[in-house]
């Protein structure tokens, strides 16, 4: 009964979404305040219905209702409760429901925190989000119903894919979806601006916190996924340029460009059409990501079972949403205007260059992801594009972008003087150049890539330090007053930029200095790597709730002093009969020691892989710093509601 109620609730939600997507938008065009006023209550109602439907599905999982096909396919009676709940989004249908739920959360959030936005614009924004919701609810009800029944009911479920039975599964997808779907807000703001023909500094100020919030979620979501792959896949990699990873990375790149472009639009009134185009692209790429995962056009570790009807539906939806909004852009872009003029050497120019580099990087990732498909469609044969392409294309594009990060914040708006910039940045340049050469010589491995990576990381550190120093140095009333006087969004930028430096440093060091061995070890054997001794103490059998495991112990010591014990595990999930390895990791600021069990060999021996990963944790720490910087920027006073109600359209930034 409960699944049917959930299904019915979803149908009602579709009706509400249809109303939300039509009346407020028409009302805004005709100036009908009653129709516009419908947007807010309808958003709340839609959220309530979708959330209720989601709870029904979660209940079916929690109560082990194997008469529901989706539940039977994605869980098992032995699966622990937290994973049974996370299994709600472990497959195709449920993850769509999560998508719809998160969209309704964003919609209701916009309706609640938009008192200061003119009625017509708010009605259009919520209406556009309602239309997107219509697409997803229709998709679910037509070809991906999570509540479909199984007759007769299964005795037990087929279990959740063991790869997904991990705490990462509980956080990674919701975070990522919050980011993906969050860009729908920026998208809706842009469509509303195109429809209304009004795009000013106030518009940029309203859409900035929403865009930054989506970007923060996406950053954390990608970071969580990368970290999960690192310890779950068992060979120490943290990014694979897998098609679906790329699908999450492209909106991130464009979203990063968007938050910078919005800053210019807010403060200088420039880049208007470009901002709108970026907002459309960021969300379009999120939708494209969904298409790539769901349709099976590309092979990927993330791909769910494929059904051509689903692919055709999502593609049609993509054409309507993306094609429609790009046409609208072509038709109306001239009405929003292009904004003020600026000099070739100015902060605007640097930000524009950065924007273009980020957009081109996103395009090159898109090209690499779809290239095999293009060739295949043209009957040029099958190829696969792997990490070598991405490494070769991505680094040369990102290097100048990261370099500009050091220059942009120091340059003045409108027109800056090149000689003055050089003088202000000479110390940063010197320090980073010297470090880039001296440090690898000290550590004993100097390659152009290591040198470049270190240079960029220290360049961002040093130029950001210079920026902070100059700001605080000049401040009246001393340093503390200077810290307080600078806005939170400025500090957010500083921390996010330092996060990039930390990230680049981590990537450079781990790529340049990591080492690994694969050895056959009998109990008592000792392997040596990076100055550490790894003693294999054999494995013992352990049983988990739905798996049996060989639990290994490896004592790690240096110069005879015990440092840590690694406990890698090899699990066999009994229902799916799938082996999984759980790496044993000792994380540390300086380096990770990482061991994973391979195969059992004769006489109690195992094949063991041991990795030494210097500074790998910095990669994720850098991402967290970026996200924290974003949070700080969002908390800026000028985005607060009370201030905003009074704020004029002229920015004080």
């Amino acid at each position: 009964m409960i699944p049917e109620i959930g299904h019915f609730s979803l149908i009602l939600a579709l009706l509400v979404a249809l109303t939300l997507g039509s009346f407020p938008i028409i009302g805004a065009a005709r100036g009908n305040t009653v129709w516009m006023g419908l947007a807010k209550p309808l958003s709340a109602l839609q959220f309530a219905l979708v959330a209720f439907s989601f709870l029904c599905l979660a209940y079916a999982f929690a109560s082990k209702d194997y008469s529901v096909v989706y539940v039977a396919n994605n869980s098992n009676s032995q699966l622990p409760l937290p994973f049974r709940i996370a299994a709600v989004w472990g497959g195709h249908e449920g993850s769509l429901l999560l998508w719809a739920l998160i969209l309704s959360v964003w919609t209701v959030a916009v309706s609640l925190f938009s008192k200061h936005i003119p009625d017509a614009m708010r009605a259009r924004i919520l209406g556009v989000m309602g239309l997107i919701s219509v697409g997803f609810l229709l998709f679910m009800l037509m070809v991906s119903n999570p509540f479909e029944r199984l007759m007769p009911a299964a005795l037990d479920g087929r279990d959740l894919n063991p790869l997904l039975q991990d705490p990462g599964m509980i956080f990674h997808p919701p975070m990522l979806y919050m980011g993906y779907v969050g860009f729908s807000v920026a998208f809706a703001f842009s469509i509303a601006a195109l429809l209304g023909g009004q795009l000013d500094a106030a518009w940029a100020r309203w859409s900035r916190p929403w865009t930054i919030m989506a970007w923060v979620f996406l950053t954390v979501g990608i970071m969580a996924g990368s970290n999960w792959a690192y310890y779950e896949l068992g060979w120490g990699g943290w990014w694979f340029w897998d098609a679906v990873e790329n699908a999450s990375f492209m909106p991130w790149l464009v979203g990063t460009a968007l938050i910078h472009s919005l800053a210019v639009t807010e403060k200088r009134g420039s880049f208007k059409a470009w901002t709108v185009l970026l907002a459309i692209c960021a969300f379009s790429l999120s939708l494209l990501g969904t298409f790539l995962v769901r349709s099976g056009v590309l092979t990927s570790v993330h791909a769910f079972a494929t059904d051509p009807r689903r692919g055709v539906f999502i593609l049609a939806f993509l054409v309507v949403v993306i094609g429609g909004s790009l046409l609208l852009f072509a038709w109306r872009a001239s009405t929003v205007g292009r904004g003020g003029k600026f000099d070739v050497v100015s902060r605007e120019s640097f930000l524009l260059a950065n924007n273009v580099l980020l957009a081109v990087a996103a395009l090159s990732v898109l090209l690499g992801t779809l290239y095999p498909l293009f060739l295949d469609a043209l009957n040029f044969g099958k190829i696969s594009v792997g990490p070598p392409y991405f490494d070769a294309v991505f680094a040369p594009l990102m290097a100048p972008a990261v370099f500009l990060m050091g220059v942009g914040p120091i340059a003045r708006w409108k027109d800056a003087a090149l000689p003055e910039l050089v003088v202000r940045l000479r110390w940063a340049l010197g320090i980073s150049a010297i470090t880039a050469i001296a440090l690898p010589l000290l550590l004993g491995n100097l390659t152009p890539m290591i040198g470049l990576g270190l240079f960029l990381a220290f360049w961002v550190f040093a130029s950001t330090a210079e920026l902070v120093y100059q700001r605080l140095h000049k401040a009246e009333g001393g340093w503390l007053a200077g810290i307080a006087a600078s806005s939170r969004s400025w500090w957010g930028m500083v921390i996010a930029h330092l996060g990039i430096a930390v990230f680049v440093l981590g990537v450079t060091v781990v790529k340049g200095y990591e080492s690994e061995i694969a050895v056959k070890m009998h109990p008592g054997d000792v392997a040596h790597l990076a100055g550490y001794d790894f003693r294999f103490d054999g494995v013992e059998s352990r049983n988990g709730p739905n798996y049996s495991a060989s639990h290994g112990q490896i004592q790690v010591s240096k110069n005879g002093v015990l440092r840590t014990v690694l406990e890698p595990e090899k699990r066999l999930y009994t229902v799916t009969n799938m082996p999984m390895s759980e790496a044993g990791i000792s994380p540390h600021l300086i380096h990770d020691l990482y061991a994973s069990l391979g195969e059992p060999l004769d006489g109690g021996a195992w094949s063991v892989r041991i990795y030494h990963k210097p500074m790998v944790e910095w990669i994720w720490f850098g991402c967290l710093m970026m996200a924290f910087g974003g949070l700080l920027a969002m908390a800026d006073k000028r985005y607060r509601l009370t201030k905003q109600a009074k704020a004029a359209s002229v920015s004080q930034g």
């Binding site: 056009v297 072509a330 498909l373 293009f374 295949d376 469609a377 009969n577 195969e599």
Partner: protein, 175 residues
């Protein structure tokens, strides 16, 4: 206006490719081995490790060469079909137990039935490299002269048996 249309045009071209892509199968990889003699090997048999098997032992017959493993989830899906095929006696199936342990492989066959004329053991996956094993399971159709006529990547399904493999086997047997 004209310049602003560029993003739209790019997107429409891309959508055209994506549409075409829906009807292509990215997992279908043409094997360079098709039309070439099956790579030679000599591997111990699973049931009698003292005896070895080589592809030339099958010369004069059409046979299927199926790569499987007890750790492979998709192998469980195709297994009942192989058992049925073996019972029908249409074509002999030789298995290659890929990167597996003998004890688990034997238990697996005991539980699910053994469709194989015999299985050879490729414990370190070396022969798998010669055959370009891409993912387990894989199935090769080898003709009377020992030439690979067909390669199926992924599990054998009812449809692939009925539409591709069995008609091909019939044709090759008639030659």
């Amino acid at each position: 206006m004209k310049r602003a249309l560029i993003p739209f045009v790019i997107f429409i071209i891309m959508a055209g490719f994506l549409f075409k892509g829906l009807f292509l199968n990215p997992r279908e990889v043409p094997s360079p081995l098709v039309g070439k003699p099956a790579p030679a090997f000599s591997l111990p048999q699973l049931d009698q490790p003292g005896k070895t098997f080589a592809p030339k032992d099958m010369l004069g017959q059409v046979w299927l060469f199926n790569v499987w493993a007890s750790w492979c989830g998709a192998c469980r899906d195709e297994h009942p079909l192989l058992v049925e095929l073996a019972q029908s006696g249409v074509v002999p199936v030789v298995g290659m137990d890929y990167k597996d342990t003998a004890s688990e492989a034997k238990r697996w066959l005991n539980e699910r039935g053994n469709p194989y004329l015999l299985s050879v053991v490729d414990a370190d996956g070396r022969v798998g490299i010669d055959y370009g094993v891409y993912g387990v399971p894989e199935t090769y159709v080898i003709d009377k002269a020992g030439v690979i006529a067909y390669k199926q990547i992924g599990p054998v399904t009812l449809a692939s048996l009925r539409d591709d493999i069995l008609p091909l086997v019939k044709r090759l047997q008639a030659q």
